[in-house]
């Protein structure tokens, strides 16, 4: 019944099946929206945050989605600025994932603040010394860039593209996309960085504080680097999941291998920097404040050295190595393992930089604080995931997201059951 909207030559499942899937995920969205409504109506007492945990679950989610959404800016940068042409076959999808991640991040921020109707104060009464101001400005600008990057793909919908104006608009936007992509990369560099800066400038928190360059602590650069490194992993992971769900191959292996290789080198270089940063922090910064590194990983029920080891070695060094070595990179199973570990790694890093910071006592007579989120927090954190699934489903169904889809799936028409 919606065949007129489906890209030419593409096979999609029957509409009722599609609608059912959307309805199921939609129920999760409604649950999240209900929780969101409760929070807006009744206030943040609906969460289990407290004065120790001013940043909690969904701020971690916020940072995590922005980190994994980093695939969009980095792929865009490679495609449009460094002219890595193969990436045109995955750029649309990277942009959609980025769009989902960033719109989710903005939504989470709107739920997170205690006074949503005053949210615009961050722009209007901006304190330029605050990393959060930098985040807000760059984040919203970069979201605008993502929207701009997304629009041509929307306009390529079979029906929309029939409209000459839309057709031309899409065409022209493609034409100047490099300018947008460059601006996006600039903005993204700063907001990814300033998210890292958010933690790094907190010099009252020895676990977070880092020295750095000018006003930017090392975490600023580490965050940007890690988002660029692990973002493509997430793009690849979501591509893989989409392929699994649709039962089709959507992106050619050479593209995947290329992105995986780039990601691998980025991860490896990042993790070297991270290790150096950690060693410097543990041996110079923290002892200078009278603290032993043990302080941050002991005397509590949850945070031990395991988290440091998992983040850096298991989810950093290992995926990095797996992706830079050709043999492992081109092994589908090991590649999948590497990108999953990578995504976990960057999420864990954000967790540590949000939640562990809050948990650690600073005053000698303070105590560790652990925190368990409320269902409302969980629901509003799941909300973006469900919303993302719906948006991917809809865009996949109606937009020519994967340029190689037709080619890859035309050769075996017999096995097509979708």
């Amino acid at each position: 019944m919606d065949s007129a909207l489906i890209p030419e030559g593409a096979k999609r499942c029957a509409f009722p099946k599609f609608a059912l899937g959307i309805a199921i995920v939609g129920a999760v969205v409604l649950w999240g929206v209900y929780a969101m409504g409760l929070i807006w109506w009744k206030g943040l007492n609906q969460t289990n945050m407290n004065d120790n945990y001013g940043f909690a679950l969904w701020i971690w989610a916020d940072l995590a989605v922005i980190a994994v959404g980093g695939g969009a800016f980095f792929t865009g940068l490679l495609k449009y600025i460094f002219k890595v042409d193969e990436l045109k076959n995955i750029i649309n999808f990277a942009v959609i994932i980025g769009f989902i991640c960033y719109s989710s991040a903005l939504l989470i921020l709107a739920i997170d603040i205690g006074q949503p109707l005053r949210g615009w104060f961050i722009f209007w009464h901006a304190n330029v010394h605050s990393m959060l101001t930098e985040v807000a400005f760059c984040l919203s600008c970069y979201f605008a860039v993502l929207t701009i990057e997304f629009i041509p793909n929307i306009l390529e919908n079979r029906q929309a593209n029939k409209v000459p104006f839309f057709h031309h608009l899409a065409h022209n936007m493609h034409g100047v996309m490099a300018v947008f992509a460059a601006t996006g990369a600039f903005l993204s560099f700063f907001h990814q960085g300033s998210l890292g800066g958010v933690a790094g400038v907190m010099y009252g928190r020895p676990f977070a504080v880092r020295e750095g360059l000018l006003i930017w602590p090392w975490t600023f650069f580490l965050f940007t680097w890690s988002a660029a490194a692990f973002g493509p992993c997430f793009t690849l992971l979501v591509t893989k999941i989409t392929e699994a769900v649709t039962g089709k191959k959507l992106v050619k292996d050479n593209v995947v291998h290329l992105l995986a290789k780039i990601s691998g080198w980025m991860i490896t270089t990042y993790i070297i920097a991270k290790i150096i940063d950690t060693i410097y922090w543990a041996t110079v910064t923290v002892p200078g404040l009278g603290l032993d590194i043990d302080h941050f990983y002991s005397n509590n029920a949850f945070y031990g050295y395991w988290i440091l080891f998992t983040e850096i070695i298991i989810c950093g060094v290992i995926p990095g190595l797996l992706l830079i070595m050709k043999s492992t990179r081109e092994n589908p199973t090991l590649r999948l393992l590497a990108i999953i570990l990578g995504v976990i790694g960057v999420c864990l890093n954000r967790w540590v930089m949000v939640l562990q910071i809050m948990a650690i006592p600073v005053m000698s007579f303070d105590t560790w604080a652990l925190y368990i989120p409320s269902w409302q927090e969980v629901a509003t954190t799941v909300l973006p995931v469900a919303y993302g699934i719906i948006l991917i489903a809809v865009t996949y169904r109606y937009l020519p997201v994967f340029p190689q889809e037709k080619e890859l799936n035309a050769v075996q028409p017999v096995t097509e059951t979708e």
Binding site: G43, L44, N45, M49, N50, D51, N52, Y53, G54, F55, D112, I113, G114, Q115, P116, R118, G119, F121, I122, H125, A126, N127, H129, S130, M131, L132, T133, A136, V198, V201, M202, Y203, G204, R205, P206, P287, G288, L289, G290, L291, D292, H295, I357, M358, V362, M363, S364, F365, D366, A369
Partner: protein, 286 residues
């Protein structure tokens, strides 16, 4: 900039922990002075608003060697690294809802500007900032005791100790009326200071050598030798600040004759204290 204003004050506090009895008068005086609300259950101290919080510290030894001390903790009104006014919280507020008054050294918090991002709370290592998770509600009729000098906070914003700034405003008003340039030491005292039955809290201008707080603290105008971002370290060997090494430069000082109490004020590596303690307070030329 007014940073170098000759008329500037630097209001600060010194709390004698040997006199403090942990009675709680300062907390209640503060709550009642500043229209701090209360809830049905305040036993979860992580969501209980007490601008002035009294911590109980122990020396960690077992019976009968145990010792305890109470440590009242208002907002520390940090001057930030180098005492330039970039307090941990002020520098991170995205909407300029908190600023550093270079004329008084007092860190403000403007509830109507705050939009509740809570970044400042994360940045403050003293837990001195509190979030209004709930709408403030008073039992019917009890809102009649609210003071018009301090505006009640609405849900969704951060609040904290203001060093009873409204009392400074009132004292200045009086001085204006009398045609005076400035106020006397006793004209501006915080609610906790006046309430303390043990007289453990002394409040005044750290710049003014005639004020008691200056006499006790004897702040060192030079940066500390071990950490150049630390300014205003006390030259009184019994006086210390909380987490002084972080460079937050609090304007709240503590006084104790007990070594373990002074040591509890900051973090020290094993063996470090013994090296530092002898220099403590008198190391400006070290």
């Amino acid at each position: 900039m007014n940073k170098n204003d000759k008329k500037a004050h630097k209001f600060g506090m010194v709390i004698d922990l040997d006199k403090c009895t942990g009675c709680g008068s300062c907390m209640v005086s503060c709550m009642s002075e500043n229209n701090v609300p209360f809830k049905e259950d305040e036993s979860n101290k992580k969501d209980s608003i007490t601008w002035m919080r009294v911590y109980k510290l122990t020396n960690g030894k077992s019976f009968p060697e145990t010792e305890i001390v109470y440590l009242p903790r208002p907002c520390q009104h940090c001057g930030g690294k180098g005492d330039h006014g970039h307090s941990p919280c002020v520098s991170v507020c995205p909407a300029t809802a908190t600023d550093y008054g270079y004329d008084t050294g007092i860190v403000s918090q403007i509830y109507t500007r705050c939009f509740g991002c809570r970044y400042c709370m994360g940045a403050c290592p003293y837990h001195a900032r509190y979030f209004n998770w709930w709408d403030p509600k008073w039992p019917e009729g009890m809102e009649k005791y609210l003071s018009p000098d301090v505006s009640p906070r609405m849900r969704g914003v951060v609040e904290k100790c203001s060093f009873c700034y409204h009392r400074y405003q009132a004292a200045k008003d009086k001085a204006y009326y009398d045609g005076r340039e400035d106020i006397e030491e006793n004209e501006y005292q915080t609610a906790c200071t006046t309430a303390c039955p043990a007289g453990a809290i002394v409040f005044g201008d750290l710049y003014n050598p005639a004020h008691r707080v200056h006499e006790i603290v004897k702040p060192d105008p030079h940066p500390a030798s071990i950490n150049s971002t630390v300014v205003g370290k006390s030259r009184n060997p019994n006086v210390f600040r909380l987490l002084e090494r972080l460079g937050t430069n609090p304007k709240v000082y503590y006084l104790s004759e007990r070594e373990w109490v002074r040591k509890a004020g900051d973090n020290y590596l094993a063996g470090e204290w013994d090296k530092i303690k002898n220099h403590h307070g008198s190391e400006s030329h070290g």
